[in-house]
Assembly symmetry: C3
Homo-oligomer: 262 residues x 3
């Protein structure tokens, strides 16, 4: 059984500690692929939730002093419970504050996947380098960043962009599905972090294939949504994207997927 | 005048202390039926808001230590102001933390309506019982749960599910409108809590009929939305649901409503 | 180059400290016109964000004790960095708590634009006056309120309503585009605050023309969205509004704009 069928059969609980802007969209996206989202943020109930959760997403998009301590605490509880963590270091390059928090977090907590754009992952690798966007970069650069991050953190790395690059078990794949409209809606990358978490099924060491499937399902749904005659901009795209995620099946997936081993 | 016409004429202020995931959707849903939502959460301004509000919704979907104290405080202020409270114990069965908070809340605060799914209401009745979903349950079970909760809390109980069960003034009704797509969008149940609050018009002891109308209007709008040719999944359903709530009139309501006294 | 072309070319960073209900919609609206929203709320990173931001939006829609101090702190940092602030005193007339906070904020922080409906701006001018809605008011009244606020705060004032009134550099303009459906979706006014911020490009003293353009672009997009055959209510309007904001060009703008100097 492929991951998409599995998620629709098992409806895994995915706990999300994510930013204030995208909670609703992330929950709707997870529901549309068959997962059961829970935006529980209280450390007091973390153990009971994580015990049965397929994975935990941690996204620092709206990090503040008030939630720093909680994020570290729930990270530890997830580690104790053996619950895989997907970590999304949103805009880590934008402030020293975020950089320092990510360093602390990644040195204290074991994560199963780090997902970000090339600029974010580069900041994690070398906090002195700055990089504006990824458009000017060659593919080689992104692959190099992925390799460096993989070496440093010894965990799966998912880099999103015009092309997505994933590295796990020393294998690298480039994926090239997607839609430019994803950059015109807020939380497109954040939702992808949630979807990756949805595909983990309590596996703290996911295979490259599972990571690929999570990223490509999303990008293919976006690609199909963009081409729908119902879509004329980001508003109608948002609705259609959820519909396509809900309807996409594995046959269509296989027909559309564009992947290349590096 | 029926409740739906009344809400469109009077535009009652509905104050919502609800979870982070559904604030936007709840506000849009309340606007679509003619109410005036206010997501005020500061106890410092509660008295001024509640004095003029038709009702207060309290939803514990994203309960944390930081908001526990505020929820108890605003509950007390609403009671002092004679403002009816609709209480939604989201996922109360999922953690000891939520169970304990709900016990404290319901022992200190008078609420006019408790709304939840069968699993949540069962947890309130007997916190040692656990129940996963409601699909495997017979209708009798849900009615029994409703009766027990009504007896224990001496207040109106609304249990949502494939069929909805409402008990008030020792009368029980089963409602069977709705759409399976409601389970595919986040906050569908949370919004219903808001709508019930919208129909209270400062009445701390609402009639069974008013409670029925609030639940059925919503479910009928969902039923019509699902059948729209514009809808192909949860994304387009979300938009269409707001449209149908905005347009539904009492004649259509009467034509669609499926109810049965128990 | 007009402002709309400029925003699409420069993609200015707009930092928003806004209320919990509208963060997602505000971010999507800003993306649709070409800006880059960031909902950063941590004072710890404010300096680094504001240094490169086109403007900061501060919206008090969900003011609580917990965020009061942060709002004052980030206001001071924005002033130090020379970053223009758009201030939206949401529902300031609804509670003494909000009135007092707005007084404190506006006495300690320099803002470039105050945006609100007539009732909100009137409360800022004279906190003893109360005013329910703006529908019963003559145009003269709104202009008078605008003048008084301009005199008191010595900064640009944008009053939204059926007609919008803007005052800057002692010039006043009335704008009359828009759609009644804007009142049926939550955060329509809040998003406008974000858009005004989007058009500031680090200018702490924006021209009347730039303020007009920000307000009119939004209202014209809403006007076109409402007339779309895809729109039958607030749900489909929400999607279509984002699409029209994404697609609106300056030629269409000039064709639709209704303005009158006072």
């Amino acid at each position: 059984m492929n991951s998409l069928e599995k998620i629709r059969q098992e409806n895994p609980l995915v706990v999300c500690y994510t930013n204030d802007v995208v909670k609703n969209f992330t929950a709707n996206g997870l529901l549309s692929i068959g997962a059961s989202p829970a935006m529980s943020e209280a450390p007091e109930e973390a153990e009971e939730f994580y015990k049965v959760a397929g994975a935990l997403l941690i996204n620092i998009g709206t990090l503040t002093k008030a939630n720093e301590k909680d994020i570290l605490e729930i990270g530890k509880i997830a580690n104790q419970q053996g619950t895989p963590i997907v970590f999304d270091p949103v805009a880590v390059g934008a402030s020293t504050y975020r950089k320092q928090f990510c360093e602390t977090f990644l040195s204290e907590i074991n994560v199963s996947v780090i997902k970000g754009n090339a600029s974010e992952i580069l900041t994690l690798v070398d906090s002195n380098t700055t990089m504006k966007g990824t458009d000017g970069e060659t593919d080689l650069d992104v692959v190099t960043i992925a390799k460096k991050a993989y070496e440093k953190y010894q965990t799966a790395i998912v880099i999103t962009g015009r092309e997505d690059v994933i590295i796990q078990d020393n294998q690298i794949v480039k994926l090239s599905n997607g839609s430019p409209l994803l950059a015109k809606i807020t939380g497109a990358g954040c939702l992808l972090g949630g979807l990756v978490a949805g595909f983990l099924f309590r596996n703290t060491h996911p295979s490259l294939q599972v990571l690929e499937e999570s990223v490509s399902y999303y990008n293919i749904a976006a690609e199909i949504a963009e081409k729908s005659e119902k879509v004329n901009g980001p508003g109608t795209f948002l609705s259609q994207l959820l519909d396509e995620m809900y309807q996409l099946n594995y046959d269509t997936y296989k027909q559309f997927v564009k992947r290349e081993e590096v």
